[in-house]
């Protein structure tokens, strides 16, 4: 015999404010191991200030070309400490790249490729108005576009904070 598992209007009952009291209220752990990477000196300044805020699980880096060959990059912590790209990505679930110009185009390529190979989500923020052609910011947008799953081409410093906060990193 078929058993009726639903009562009529279960949606109406479940969606009330009163029923909201019964939603499971378990503390939410930081869900993202975020790596936040400055791609150029201007972006590094932004991240130095951002890193001073309290973050659950975010780490901040500066990425620079290694000089030893195209697409080789050096990663170091925002405080100048050494870091290795492979090690940092091994425990990352999202990489947020921040740029103010196209100076970090090689870094964006290398980071984007490494993230794609590892299945790591990417986001890019261009601080400045990257929607105006011919600007440094628009060049940064062009450099980041192929490598960032989500791109904010006209971000400001508060966008970096708001995005990281919303992502719970």
């Amino acid at each position: 015999m078929a058993v009726e598992t639903q009562t009529l209007s279960s949606c109406a009952r479940a969606a009330t404010a009163e029923e909201a009291r019964y939603r499971i209220d378990r503390p939410i752990a930081p869900s993202r191991a975020g790596r936040v990477v400055a791609l150029d000196p201007g972006a590094a300044e932004v991240l130095r200030r951002t890193a001073q805020q309290e973050w659950a699980n975010a780490r901040f880096y500066i990425c620079e070309p290694a000089g030893s060959g195209a697409q080789d990059v050096v990663l170091r912590g925002i405080d100048g400490g050494p870091a290795t790209l492979a090690d940092e990505l091994a425990s990352a679930s999202v990489v947020v790249m921040v740029a103010t110009s196209d100076a970090g185009a090689d870094c964006a390529y290398t980071l984007g490729k490494a993230c794609w190979e590892r299945g790591i989500q990417t986001a890019g923020l261009v601080v400045g108005d990257g929607t105006q052609a011919g600007t440094a910011a628009s060049a940064a947008v062009a450099a980041l576009r192929p490598h960032a799953r989500v791109l904010l081409p006209s971000a400001d410093e508060a966008d970096v904070v708001d995005l990281l906060s919303a992502l719970r990193v």
């Binding site: 969606a15 404010a17 029923e19 052609a133 576009r145 799953r149 904010l152 081409p153 966008d159 992502l167």
Partner: protein
């Protein structure tokens, strides 16, 4: 996630709240013109931004939006008699004109000036297109009338409907700029809905379920671009404009009419979803208009005589598990509008955003919340006029375009997302 205090600020729109004051800077839909179809038509009750009001059209064709309750004893003016030049309370006969001015108190002496000193709160009510628009802010700061293209096209070019949504306005609005849900929730509609199907762009949608997103500021709000792979060397871009506080458009498909929404708070736990379709270049066909009336596309099939959808939370949205299983209706609920409302209402009257786990694909929503917060606080603390008040900000269109991979979407599509009278929409 969002801090609780910011969630409170963004979702509360009653008088005196920061977000309520923000909404009161704008012209916004109060009701459909069809609700007051003729001079002297029966008045209708409205609640907007947690204020109870009555709208009426007097015997001279003038529209009025006034406090619902008579100044005398507080009876509802919905019971009012729409008489010559005003609405009369049937309790003791006090009569008001469309500005809320009391024009007759029968119990007073014939030469009494008492009525001159009685005035109900009133707001302007203006017909543009299918919509009666109101402005509920400081009369001294009343902006010019709205210039959204859908309302300015000839009557035979557009169609507007509305439906009651049992949730806070913000979670309804956020669906309007959340491009990433379309590939899943509305996937069935791309193949079968008469107002969507057949467009070449649909195939790009269905072939690439992991779009890239770009979120760019505009003068009035945002442009949210979703790009998917198209032919070699090119991307298919779907561009969604948002004009503050709550106007959104859906990127078009083929030569189908273009559509969008206004999300208007009734109170903090209910909102109106206004849905429009229009074609700037031609009248809607009879089949298109009938499809809209029947609840296809972005519209809903409502209970006759009401603006409540037939599929609603009281009947579990007529859930069909078989259609869900086959994928014809991805969620098991029929129709784009109800697919959205069913899930948004399921979140509760005001969703607790402190519990969210957002992902980078939610950047449009993250950025929109930030802009709303900044605008509300800027208005409250410094009196800054928010984006979207200036009618020039209304001159936007959504677009669906194929661009070379190297092109920046707003550089290449600037004209496509701008209203150009006499020019077709940009659609694939």
């Amino acid at each position: 996630m969002l801090r609780q205090d910011i969630n409170e600020l963004l979702t509360r729109t009653g008088p005196g709240t920061p977000m309520g004051e923000l909404f009161r800077q704008y012209w916004m839909p109060a009701c459909l013109a069809e609700e007051l179809p003729e001079d002297g038509a029966p008045p209708i009750r409205l609640k907007l931004l947690s204020e109870r009001l009555v709208a009426f059209r007097d015997s001279y064709g003038r529209y009025g939006l006034i406090d619902e309750f008579c100044a005398h004893r507080g009876a509802s003016m919905w019971f009012g008699r729409n008489e010559e030049g005003g609405l009369r309370c049937p309790y003791h006969g006090w009569k008001y004109d469309t500005t809320g001015q009391c024009i007759e108190v029968p119990s007073e002496a014939d030469n009494s000036s008492f009525a001159e000193n009685v005035r109900l709160t009133s707001y302007p009510l203006v017909k543009i297109g299918d919509v009666l628009w109101t402005y509920m802010g400081d009369p001294a700061k009343q902006p010019p009338l709205p210039e959204f293209e859908f309302a300015l096209t000839p009557a035979e070019h557009h169609y507007t409907s509305k439906r009651w949504q049992q949730s806070n306005w913000l979670q309804a609005f956020e669906g309007g700029i959340d491009s990433s849900h379309v590939t899943f929730l509305h996937s069935g509609g791309l193949k079968s809905d008469p107002l969507f199907k057949g467009a070449k762009g649909n195939q790009y949608n269905l072939n690439d379920k992991k779009p890239f997103f770009e979120v760019a500021d505009s003068d009035g709000g945002l442009f949210v671009g979703a790009r998917r792979n198209a032919e070699e060397g090119s991307y298919y871009w779907r561009i969604t404009p948002w004009v503050m506080p709550s106007f959104t458009m859906v990127p078009p498909r083929g030569d189908h009419p273009i559509h969008g929404h206004f999300w208007i708070p009734i109170d903090d736990e209910n909102c109106w979803a206004y849905s429009f379709d229009y074609h700037p270049m031609r009248p809607l066909t009879e089949a298109e208009r009938q499809a809209m009336i029947d609840g296809h596309g972005v519209h809903s099939k409502n209970i006759p005589g009401t603006y409540r959808p037939e599929a609603n939370m009281d009947n579990d949205y007529l859930m069909n598990r078989e259609k869900q299983r086959t994928g014809e209706w991805y969620s098991g609920v029929e129709g784009i509008a109800i697919q959205d409302s069913s899930l948004q209402e399921s979140m509760g009257p005001i969703v607790d955003r402190t519990k969210e786990r957002l992902v980078p694909a939610d950047s449009g929503i993250i950025k929109a919340r930030q802009k709303l917060y900044r605008a509300a606080v800027g208005l409250r603390d410094k009196g800054v006029t928010p984006p979207g008040v200036d009618p020039a900000h209304h001159h936007v269109r959504s677009a669906a375009v194929v661009l070379p991979q190297k092109e920046a979407f707003l550089d290449a599509a600037r004209d496509d997302v701008t209203v150009r009278p006499g020019m077709p929409i940009s659609s694939v």
